[in-house]
């Protein structure tokens, strides 16, 4: 029973979909309550997984490995480590909140809406539990379709453009990923004599540098679009602005992490040499994303697109942390994934609340809201502070470690990335000032009602998480650390780096002259063994 808990967790929402199909489509209350119950139980199962998870053990836990399509080596292989564990818990919590937030704002196509959300949940959890590339790919694509509908059906005025843009960007990436997956599987066959989609088996397969480079590029493109890494980010503001609140929450909260999760689960362990070789480029793009996202966020007129660009900036931090390839940077990066999910999820929820009241998100339409909606202003302030990474809120811990790690890797990455800390204060506080402070000038804002009980129930768990992770993040670190160390060990198989067994720091191997060689130079002689079947 407990051994199969990941299966129950993943497919429980599908059970909900089946039940929802049986409910007549005009029974809105039953549909909403049922999906809330399903999402809530899914969340409880994920809490159970968290409770049963052994933080001391390294390696995968709750593993299930059943052969599925033997002839091509596809197996039903599930398992989680600390990184996937935390992302799963984040997913289930945000799903419950997303459903609660849609309670009164989705009035058409109710049944389809909640079915989409539950399917999406299965897709997201599926990606995090998959240890088989076939499963991974299937769940990856499963997420795409409900999200397409969420934006395209329940979205704003330009929803069709945004939905198609979202799908085309993502599809483009995932097709290349599919090619890379197939290459890996055939390569494995040529070496081991059997086919396998198993991530752990494929990780241990030796690959030449040029193979690694091509495969890395293919996967990285798919993941980078999802993150989204500059300059592949332009689908995001459109998708966010048009998506309904629940869509934005899940998109920003979880879907973006699919990209960074892919990097940490697939790119880093499978292609360590390529990782080291591509590292400078990805770091530079990440730093650009941090600064660029923040600057563009500052001049947005719509609150949602402001938050969308802030996501570009924050996810730049996550990417930078991943590619620092040191313990602090990686741990910070995983923390930042969770924290960005919480803060940005909370921001979109809050923006949704004001949108429900005013049906606009233009900053210029507001002003003086703190006077009319003091509780709303307080929650908004707390989330704003978390987003700008104030110490003792969740945002600080991740950002601090990433910057620390980046600085150790390369001073300049640290120096440029740290400006993101300044700009985030600029755009968030400026927006907060224009929305909340001043006198109420727009008569439509005079009679706004403060937060309802339902809205407070949505925000309280997030505020709790903001402070809990900000003040006592140790339980999370305990669970992340073994997983991150595993990743670092796998990366350290690259010839160009050495792992310090005590501090878990990767250092470049030095050549005879004692100077640090550029990784790309080290790899040059290896290219002759490149084989293209």
């Amino acid at each position: 029973m407990i051994g199969d808990i990941l299966t129950y967790l993943t497919f429980f929402p599908v059970l909900g979909v089946v039940l929802l199909l049986l409910v007549p489509k005009e029974r809105h209350d039953s549909i909403k309550s049922l999906s809330l119950i399903i999402a809530f139980v899914t969340m409880l199962i994920s809490f159970l997984v968290y409770a049963l998870f052994d933080p001391l053990a390294s390696g995968m836990q709750f593993e299930v490995n059943v052969p599925w399509v033997n002839s091509v080596g596809i197996s039903y292989h599930l398992g989680i480590d600390g990184i996937s564990l935390l992302l799963i818990v984040l997913t289930t919590i945000l799903t419950v909140l997303a459903i609660l937030s849609s309670w009164n704002s989705i009035k058409t196509g109710v049944k389809g809406f909640y079915i989409s959300i539950l399917l999406l949940t299965t897709g997201m959890i599926g990606v995090f539990v998959s240890l088989d590339l076939f499963l991974f790919y299937v769940f990856w694509e499963v997420m795409l379709i409900p999200m397409y509908f969420l934006i395209g059906v329940w979205g704003g005025p330009r929803r069709v453009y945004a939905a198609i843009k979202f799908v085309l960007f993502t599809m483009f990436g995932s097709l290349l990923m599919l090619v890379a997956v197939l290459y890996l599987v055939f390569k494995y066959h040529s070496m081991a004599g059997v086919y396998s989609f198993d991530i752990q088996a494929l990780v241990s397969m030796p690959l030449s540098f040029s193979e690694q480079a091509y495969l890395f590029a293919a996967f990285a493109l798919a993941f980078a679009i999802k993150v989204p890494l500059w300059p592949l980010h332009t689908w995001l503001p459109d998708a966010h602005v048009e998506a309904p609140t629940a869509g934005s929450v899940i998109l920003a909260g979880v879907l973006l992490k699919m990209g960074t999760y892919g990097f940490i689960r697939i790119c880093l362990p499978m292609f360590p040499e390529a990782t080291v070789a591509f590292l400078p480029y990805i770091c530079v793009l990440s730093v650009i994303a941090i600064v660029y996202g923040a600057l563009v966020a500052m001049v947005q007129k719509d609150v949602k697109s402001l938050v969308a660009f802030s996501s570009v900036s924050h996810m730049g931090f996550v990417m930078l942390g991943l590619f620092t390839l040191n313990l602090q940077g990686l741990e910070g990066s995983v923390m930042q994934m969770i924290n960005h999910g919480i803060s940005t999820g909370a921001l979109f929820l809050l923006v949704g609340m004001i949108y429900d009241r005013r049906h606009t998100r233009l900053i210029s339409e507001f002003g003086g809201i703190a006077k009319v909606m003091p509780a709303f202003a307080t929650y908004f302030m707390i989330v704003t502070l978390s987003s700008i990474g104030l110490p003792f809120t969740n945002g600080f811990v991740g950002e601090f470690l990433i910057l620390l790690g980046a600085f150790q890797l390369n001073t300049w990455y640290g120096v440029f990335a740290v400006t993101g800390v300044i700009f985030s204060a600029c755009y968030m506080l400026w927006m907060y000032q224009r929305v909340m402070y001043g006198k109420v000038t727009n008569p439509e804002n005079e009679k706004l009602t403060d937060m309802s009980a339902r809205e407070r129930i949505i925000m309280i768990p997030l505020v709790f998480l903001i402070f809990w992770i900000g003040v006592y993040p140790k339980p999370l670190f305990d669970r992340i650390e073994p997983a991150v160390k595993n990743v670092l060990e796998q990366v350290s198989r690259a010839k160009s780096v050495q792992l310090d067994p005590v501090t878990y720091e990767l250092t470049r191997v030095k050549d005879e002259k004692g100077t640090v060689t550029d990784a790309t130079v080290t790899f040059a002689p290896e290219q002759e063994e490149a084989t293209h079947e």
């Binding site: 563009v296 300044i422 140790k474």
Partner: protein, 645 residues
Amino acid sequence: MAEYIYLVPLFPLIGFLINGLLLGRLPRAAVNFIACASVGLSFIVAVMLFFDLRALPEGQRVLEQVLFTWIPSGALQVNIGFLLDPLSAVMILVVTGVGFLIHIYSTGYMSHDPGFGRYFTYLNLFTFSMLVLVLADSFPFMFVGWEGVGLCSYLLIGFWFEKKSASDAGKKAFIVNRIGDAGFLLGMFIIFWQVGSLQFTEVMAAAPAVFAAGGALVTTVCILLFVGATGKSAQIPLYVWLPDAMEGPTPVSALIHAATMVTAGVYMLARSSVLYTMAPDALAVVAIIGAATALFAATIGTAQNDIKRVLAYSTVSQLGYMFLACGVAAFTAGIFHLMTHAFFKALLFLAAGSVIHGMSDIQDMRQMGGLKKYMPITFITMLLATLAIAGIPGFSGFFSKDEILWKSFSSSHGHILLWIIGFITAGLTAFYMFRLIYMTFYGKERMSDEVKHHLHESPRSMTLPLVVLAVLSVIGGWVGIPHVFGVTNHFEHWLAPVIAGPHQEAASHALAAAGSSAATEFLLMGLTVVLVLFSIFGAYMLYKKRPELSTSLAQKFSGLQALLVNKYYVDEIYGALVVRPIVTGSVFLWKIVDVLFIDGLINGFAAIYADISQVARRVQTGRIRSYATVFVLGVVAMVGYFLYW
């Protein structure tokens, strides 16, 4: 004893939580009581801790308490841990002591404001953060307090948030501070990178072995940390937020923007004195910036007409003195001035608040005058504080300022030019402070009749803190009377174990003081006192005896006057050189790079694709005849290929 250090920040935290969570549900008296009692309890614990610490033998005056691990990440282990040593003991006494008085004062000052609950919630949160800042045992935990006080400052400056100028000022304070904080962070990163720890005790113990004295690394660390200090403590070039911060309620200006928060930078430098003494170049930067700020702000202070703005620039200037002290490696003198300044500047602000309260919220000194007889307690206490800041012998400010001036001359890191700047600033200080006194309390009553009708001395809750602070402003300096007067400098002695630095040098000074340098010290002291008296006389002539003289002088030097009134146009320069280019650049990135270029490229691809499809689709005409033609042509081509190729 160490077991109850955590109580010091805990009480204000509890006060914050109660007042914050029950906001709007508690009666005014309960809110006042909780807010004041929490800080009062903290103060009692701080006093007990001080005596505990003093009971220990000199070399062992370090108490540490670790509550739990905050950030455990590999080699980086940051604790929620406190460090109580002579330095932090002085700081918590100042913070809780002055803080308590200002809380009491606030109950009177805010008695008519409907936002009192929010006000006291923020004020308690501030006290908590400030105590964390000074008690933290590591750089990152100190940073918690550091940003925490910045947040409270933001919230309290923008307390009356319906006023655009107030919310602007709050935002400006936060963002300018963030610029400094970025420097602080980078400094921390280098320390961790080199030392592998961010714990104060470990860093300071390891620093001499890890860093090369005078090397580029330690100099960079010190300068980066100093960048953080220039933000928080309002030094050139990041001082611009402090004058605007006067938008906040006046007790806030007293507590945060005079007595405690703005001195955090000085505290940080003293805390890192081991590093700074290893980096003479960084010290020189600190000294030059400090001296320049002291002079620069003092000149602006002579031309401001808003009573709080005069005090704000005065604060910037006095903070400059403290950095000047740190910059010549006289950290003790810096902390000493920090303490005396906390007394007299808090008093000046509170007295100014009392004036504003009595004047129905008017802050312009041109509409005041002759208040002496209406507000006697405010007048006398403010006069005492003015004598202290001006450096009249015997008052607290005299000893601390004189110590700084002497060190800037005599220290091995000192320079005669630094002394000259400090000397001129001392004269300007006396001038602008007495200008304030004469414009406010003497001369013609320039206010409207309605204001005059409401004029009254402030209630007991406000005057009592004034009296206590007045006593401290007078005697507070007596703990640190310089050696030259033939007594032990208790203050320096108390801090000696914590402050790195030229202990031997201090000893040699003590020896030398017996000889010729004692004569020099008395000579310089005498010169300063003469200048101060002369400046006071100048202020008396211009603003009391013959006020028309000041107007004609202002007309004669109207260019200079405009320059000073407009604060050298620094805000405008920053706006043109920094703020506007960034905003314009961002719009460019959005409209041109994002929308036009990247999206244009992508939509362009889509359009090309669509165009090609438009052409390709014509192949499918739907006419059987054309299909048949193509079919036949195809067959012919294939047959031809197989037959003749």
